[in-house]
Amino acid sequence: MSIQTMIVDDDPIFAMMFKKIIARESFFNSPKEFGNGLLASEHLKSTYDPSTSYIIFLDINMPVMNGWEFLAAISEFAYPKNTLVFIVTSSINQADLVRSKENEYVIKFLTKPILSNTIIELKKSIKERLAD
């Protein structure tokens, strides 16, 4: 089973830090970076393979296409079973959290900063889910 990791965030410094943090876990091999939802959804659509598992770290507040719009866009072709979305945002807005719970792709709502130990727990929960 192949795993494809995607980072969708318009903040390059965050993307750099996040890559450093997950670099130690070979589990998230060679993550792909996207500066907004549109670039990410177009890439996913053109390369989507139902037998691949996609782990997507998704920011909400982005130019061109934001995180919510991205989720709406991929709902036309991606299955929630192999498309696991983690919202990663600096927002601590309750409304965003509630909205994320209602989305079938979203596994977890993470608030920045993402620290090293968060990733270890994250990996565990992803493995459990994929094993289901």
């Binding site: 903040d11 410094i13 965050f14 830090m17 996040f18 450093k20 943090i21 909400i60 507040n61 945002t89 600096s90 927002s91 601590i92 807005n93 965003d96 608030t111 920045k112 900063p113 993402i114 620290l115 090293s116």
Partner: protein
């Protein structure tokens, strides 16, 4: 013979001494103590009434007096009759005048040759009762007219078929700038901006046909000076001068609406600030925390550390800019508030 013990203060205006004696005689038959004042000229009666307006309960007035013609006397009698009941004493020859005087507000007329003590007594009694009744009716009518005319809110009545104003109160004159005469030559179309007329006509048709009670709605009106105002209308059907009409109360809510809009705008600005707080401000803070975490918990070489410090500085600068933005936005809110 029944004797009335009440005191009656009676002014008798009679130039014929014989007739006066007769009247005096008749009165004493039924009244215990008639308080009589006798004058022989209208002029004297007039000046007595002017000087002591509340002295008399009833006036017995001879129609043929030497100092005034009958025509004028009837008019005068009518004026006096507004405040004191007047009974006209007359001969057969002046019957026409006497009848006419009744229509003008005189209480009664008695033909001298047919007067008896009882007739005179009854006439006085009835005149007083009727006068009291009319007086209270007038007061009640005035009270209700005052409710309309002195109401601080503009009120008017318009005819449903023609949309013409049938009556307006002082507040309407004052608020819209048209005089009552101007209003009465206008229709309710004339106090609206062009573009509001179709909406008004539709509403009038609907509420008028169904005779909706307590209709209310918000409309735009135009004053005489061209100013357009927002008004809250409440109206009720009414029959006015035998025509189907609506009575309308119009409350100017222009200022209230403006205040509401200002508050809504203000709320939007505050929501924007709150949104910025949660989405924009936290971004560089989260980045700073992440960067510090990297430096603390990872092995880094000097080049990396310098790079991270550069990022830390950039994030701090970004935050500084965001905070300035918030301060500016807050000041706009405060400025608007002070206006």
């Amino acid at each position: 013979m029944k004797i009335d013990h009440n005191t009656y203060r009676i002014l008798v205006v009679e130039d014929n001494p014989g007739d006066f004696l007769l009247v005096e005689d008749f009165l004493s038959e039924h009244l215990k103590s008639p308080d009589l004042t006798h004058v022989t000229r209208f002029k004297s009666a007039r000046s007595l009434l002017d000087e002591y307006p509340d002295t008399f309960d009833v006036i017995l007035l001879d129609l043929s007096l030497p100092d005034i013609d009958k025509e004028t006397l009837v008019t005068e009698a009518r004026n006096i009759g507004q405040t004191i009941p007047v009974i006209i004493l007359t001969g057969y020859a002046d019957l026409d005048f006497a009848v006419k005087s009744l229509a003008q507000g005189v209480s009664d007329y008695l033909i001298k040759d047919t007067i008896s003590a009882l007739v005179l007594y009854k006439s006085i009694l009835y005149a007083q009762e009727r006068h009291r009744f009319i007086q209270s009716l007038r007061e009640s009518e005035k009270r209700y007219m005052d409710l309309f005319h002195l109401s601080p809110t503009p009120i008017w009545v318009y005819e449903l078929d023609t949309l013409r104003f049938m009556d307006v109160n002082e507040a309407a004159e004052h608020h819209y700038g048209y005089s009552k005469d101007e209003f009465l030559s206008m229709t309710i179309r004339d106090i609206r901006p062009e573009e509001e007329i179709p909406k008004m006509e539709k509403t009038v048709k609907e509420s008028g046909e169904k005779a909706i009670r307590f209709f209310s709605g918000v409309f735009k009106h135009r004053k005489k000076n061209g100013e357009v105002i927002d008004v809250e209308i409440t109206s009720n059907p009414i029959i006015f001068g035998r025509k189907k009409a609506e009575i309308v109360q119009a409350t100017d809510i222009t200022e209230k609406l403006m205040q509401m809009r200002a508050i809504e705008e203000q709320n939007k600005r505050l929501r924007d600030i709150a949104w910025t707080q949660s989405h924009i401000v936290r971004a560089p803070v989260a980045r700073l925390m992440g960067l510090i975490d990297l430096i603390r918990n990872r092995e880094t070489d000097e080049a990396e550390r310098n790079q991270y410090l550069e990022y830390i500085y950039e994030s701090a600068e970004e935050m500084d800019e965001i905070i300035r933005g918030i301060v500016d936005a807050s000041q706009t809110v405060i400025k608007k508030e002070n206006q």
